[in-house]
């Protein structure tokens, strides 16, 4: 995960909160949050190598896919649920997001923007885009539900997910002026803090 995204997320997570990170990778974000914010954190991950790395770091990690995890943890409660760069890989992102907000007070979601100008150019040239935030070819990608920043915000408004904070990043994962003025065209990635209606 880019340092900038990790920093944004760390800023949004309150000290000593209980956090679940769906698709936690090697656990580095949770490790940062434990070190800097003294959180109680759990990660959900499916990749064997990543799980071993989490355990090595002393991170609590649960081997499950995200959909299974969210369903199984229905009765649990967290202050913050994080889903970084995974929402587009899920079978039913809208249902999953609703469930995430049920088990947590706030959700942090990051997603690649399919409306980013480089994606549009690639499509104009008749090709599926391959960019920094959409790094895989069409036949290798795990993405199922790609969307633009506008699409995502429409889903949030239709589903009564409150957007508390939003930060847009350019292709070098930095907060850029253009990305913040016209995110749907110039943001490569969006980082959202969502709350309940």
């Amino acid at each position: 995960m880019a340092i900038e995204i990790s920093k944004i997320i760390t800023d949004w997570v309150p000290s000593q909160s209980k956090v679940i990170d769906f698709g936690c990778g090697n656990g580095s974000l949770l490790k940062d949050l434990i070190d800097t914010k003294n959180i109680c954190g759990y990660g959900v991950e499916i990749d064997h190598q990543m799980i071993a790395e989490c355990i090595k770091k002393g991170i609590s990690v649960i081997e499950k896919d995200i959909d299974e995890g969210i369903q199984d943890f229905e009765s649990s409660s967290f202050d913050i649920a994080i889903m970084a760069s995974s929402i587009q890989c899920l079978k039913n992102p809208n249902i999953t997001m609703r469930r995430m907000l049920k088990l947590s007070n706030k959700c942090i979601v990051t997603l690649p923007n399919f409306g980013y100008w480089k994606c549009r150019l690639a499509l104009l040239a008749g090709k599926m885009p391959v960019t920094a935030s959409l790094a895989s070819t069409w036949y290798e990608t795990e993405n199922l539900h790609l969307c633009t920043i506008s699409d995502f915000e429409k889903l949030c408004s239709d589903s009564d997910f409150m957007i508390d904070e939003r930060i847009f990043l350019n292709s070098s994962s930095k907060k850029g002026l253009l990305a913040s003025i016209m995110p749907n065209l110039f943001a490569s990635e969006g980082v959202y803090l969502l709350g309940k209606e």
């Binding site: 209980k18 109680c40 759990y42 064997h48 799980i51 071993a52 790395e53 989490c54 355990i55 090595k56 770091k57 002393g58 991170i59 609590s60 990690v61 649960i62 081997e63 499950k64 199984d72 943890f73 009765s75 649990s76 409660s77």
Partner: protein
């Protein structure tokens, strides 16, 4: 690897959860590796229902490798070059620790069927006394599979400050109805053996070996997976030359009979009943009005729970229940499912991922 076997005597005895008391008792203990000066590198491994203190290596009295030899040893997952590994035969067992075949100091006869009911909590309490004897205030890790995993879990609850980590493999917070049912069929096979004499067989100088053999054969089926049995035996017929008896047709029959026979020569029937009763009776939440979360809330150790895909005795979902309850009360806890082809017995066998995860957990 330095292997040491020792019979440790506890003169002051132990109060059991059932209310009974053993006025004194012995634990047969085996250790591997060396305890460091700070006494901070101790790892306790707890055996499953029919296991014993011989967990690894070969000892003076035992030239077959221990039950967890694949995981315990120099440079293995539980590295005896770095850690001092301890395993004891549990109270009520029949491998040297005080159990039904021991002499009751009150009567000067074997306890036999009168040996008091023991529980997972009693085992953990006696293991704590062993830790004190060894001078170990805090285990680096307490780990075990199956009934051993239940002890590792109970350790974290009974003595939260006395262990850093708990490894709970192929285990559950309590036995299921099906587990109890299977065990009762096994016990009934023992009781129906005409040599059982209502548990007093030692007085008649006989052993209910037939019943014990049948019990073990049933047990064995539950420890293996359907797939593993298919791969190992299929529907192959046993060679005439190596049949254990004339009734055998299939290889699987021969295997179960051979294993059952071997077991019935070495295991005590009253111990079998006692150990399975302890397994059936264990319920982590029983002292907390059935609420597992409340039972786990006091835990300070980090937990690693491992389930095995092909285990139908304590399937992965039983481990996941512990993980969920632990997470809900903010106890640090990881959960992993391993492929393990050997069913419930998978926890005994090393695999690259199993070893890697245990190593990472101990190091963390």
């Amino acid at each position: 690897m330095k292997v040491k076997t020792e019979l440790v005597h506890f003169e002051k005895g132990i109060e059991l959860a059932s209310g009974s008391k053993l006025s004194m008792f012995d634990l047969m203990v085996e250790t591997y590796g060396e305890l460091d000066e700070e006494k901070s590198n101790g790892i306790l491994v707890c055996h499953a229902f029919s296991g014993n203190h011989h967990a690894a290596g070969v000892s003076e009295n035992n030239d077959t490798p221990g039950w967890w030899d694949q995981l315990i040893g120099p440079s293995k997952a539980i590295d005896t070059d770095k850690y001092f590994v301890v395993c004891c035969n549990n109270l009520g067992g029949c491998s040297g620790s005080t159990g039904p075949t021991s002499i009751n100091p009150q009567t000067n006869e074997s306890y036999g069927k009168d040996f008091p009911l023991v529980s997972v909590i009693d085992w953990v309490n006696s293991q704590k006394m062993l830790a004190e004897y060894l001078g170990i205030d805090k285990w680096k890790l307490v780990a075990g599979g199956s009934l051993g995993g239940m002890q590792a879990l109970q350790w974290a609850i009974s003595f939260p400050d006395s262990l850093e980590k708990s490894g709970i493999f192929a285990a559950a917070a309590r036995s299921s109805t099906q587990n109890i049912a299977m065990n009762e069929v096994a016990r009934e096979a023992i009781r129906r053996d005409m040599n059982f004499h209502d548990g007093d067989y030692l007085k008649y100088d006989v052993k209910p070996k037939g019943g014990l053999k049948t019990a073990r054969m049933l047990g064995h089926i539950t420890y293996l997976s359907e797939k593993h049995m298919d791969l190992k035996f299929g529907r192959k017929f046993q060679d005439n030359s190596s049949k254990v008896d004339g009734d055998v047709d299939f290889e699987v029959e021969n295997y179960l009979k051979y294993k059952g026979e071997k077991f019935s020569n070495s295991f005590d029937a009253n111990s079998y009943i006692l150990m399975t009763k302890a397994m059936d009776g264990y319920d982590t939440a029983s002292n907390f009005s059935g609420n597992l979360e409340k039972a786990l809330a006091c835990i300070k150790a980090r937990l690693l729970i491992i389930g095995f895909e092909t285990d139908w005795l304590y399937p992965p979902k039983r481990g996941k229940e512990i993980q969920l309850a632990a997470m809900n009360v903010s106890v640090p806890c990881s959960y992993v499912t391993l492929d393990g082809e050997q069913g419930h017995d998978s926890f005994l066998f090393a695999s690259a991922r199993y070893e890697n995860i245990i190593k990472a957990f101990i190091k963390s």
